[in-house]
Symmetry: C2
Subunit: 311 residues, 2 copies
Amino acid sequence: MGELDFIEALRAFATHPAARGLADDAAVLGDLVLTHDSIAEGVHFLTDDPPESVGWKLVAVNLSDLAAKGAEPLAALMSATIAGDGKWEEAFLAGVAAACEAYRLPLVGGDTIALPFGAPRVLGLTAIGRGGPVVPSRGGARPGDRLWLVGTLGDAAAGLAVLKADARAEGILVEAYRRPVPLLAAGRLLAPHAHAMMDVSDGLLLDLARLTKASGCGARIDLDALPLTRAFIAERGGGRAARLFAATGGDDYALLAALASDLDPGLSLCLPSGAIFAAIGTITAHDGIELYDAAGDVPLPERLGYEHHRT
Amino acid sequence: MGELDFIEALRAFATHPAARGLADDAAVLGDLVLTHDSIAEGVHFLTDDPPESVGWKLVAVNLSDLAAKGAEPLAALMSATIAGDGKWEEAFLAGVAAACEAYRLPLVGGDTIALPFGAPRVLGLTAIGRGGPVVPSRGGARPGDRLWLVGTLGDAAAGLAVLKADARAEGILVEAYRRPVPLLAAGRLLAPHAHAMMDVSDGLLLDLARLTKASGCGARIDLDALPLTRAFIAERGGGRAARLFAATGGDDYALLAALASDLDPGLSLCLPSGAIFAAIGTITAHDGIELYDAAGDVPLPERLGYEHHRT
């Protein structure tokens, strides 16, 4: 039994409607939106990553799931392990505290386990939010919808690549990788209007494939429309290869929303000042994702993103 | 930084009232009761424990925290790791499913992580419940209150001792260790009347010390009144040593409640048919726990229970 079998076995008994088939960013129980993401040393972060950034990221990735459902954060419970002398954990906790403070997320409980020295750390957070009147799923996109992306793509993946070349590297891209920003305000504004919405955490194309699969449709994406930052373009350029890298990199924590074609969030919604957003494509009636740019159709890359088998 | 320092550091920013100072069985946020317990291989369970029982226990211990607050289970999110070939996890999941079914607990989400082969498994569950009109804390006991225990003591610890002598042992005591029963119905009935309530998971005397510390009082306990099963007495006897063993063993998942002295749950509350309960002592005005039995005062043992440093 591998991860996918395990998740299938979970689905067999996680049949409550709140579970949304274990195929959404979060569970939706009445007006509550519930999510849990765990991260493990050696899998989601490296031992020499700054522990503050691991703590920040644990909080931010869970808040990004709430953002994707338009939910307001209410509280969190943390599951932490302690391994070694505790210095790492002290710094980790400072990162958790900083993110909780930044997003006004009360930490209200959890559990702490001392693991044997050298065991990989496993850190988890359950975030609980209150949904608005509409909590969009991944499954409601309709042919003809426009696909909007809030946030930018590729910075985190570019930052990770920079770090792989030089573990002491710093800068905007490294920061994007280490300290993702959950787009809570944008998510709340988009949710009532979104036919489907999710956060882009594993790579745009992989997450889009999940959205279109859940919606029973396809999508056509304009690579030239993907929002890239100046820092990204300075590092990797803005051509087709760079854009494919950005579309498959992961760790973006942007929001992807399918909106009615006549709705322009720049005109109709008061997105937070400075929010970056772009129409990146359309939902199509037939299965599959098509890519194009100014030079014509672009073959879909073999690897669409980073699979980490969330349940 | 050890576990206790870590928890102190958590307390410094977990200041929201819902956190209850990270000193209760659960967080209480509006009408929600929230708890998260994680268990780790080699710490809370052994590699050769039957994985079904580990899955059952993960669910049951969290439900016991809800029972201690009189809450009705609403949903759970699970954090699971996969290590090795997945056979262990398949059986573990069957135990989770059985407990969720037995207590009508919908599993609505979570996360799955594949760990490197040989890494200790870390498994967590967040349980969310709805509290009644009163959600008792550990801190409301008053001098003169009677202390009631619902459930029995010592079976699980006796079962663990049996298993340590013979890993293939079976029987009622081993079952009590492996498949604890959360006392949800009793908890709901007691909660509106309890000045203080908690579940006994780490040993009666240790948990009682937490309750009296939180309440700013002490307690006097009649060892002869502790409810023991026939199976326990058959294995370890019913004398003072056996009763001290039962009072410090842990893994009981009984409920400990401080009730007004004139309230007898056997007369006033419709406890579930067959529920075992006993008045085991009284709350005193002065600090400290005193023990006695028919032969006189009994010195407090040095070890009051099993410390596993829950936050």
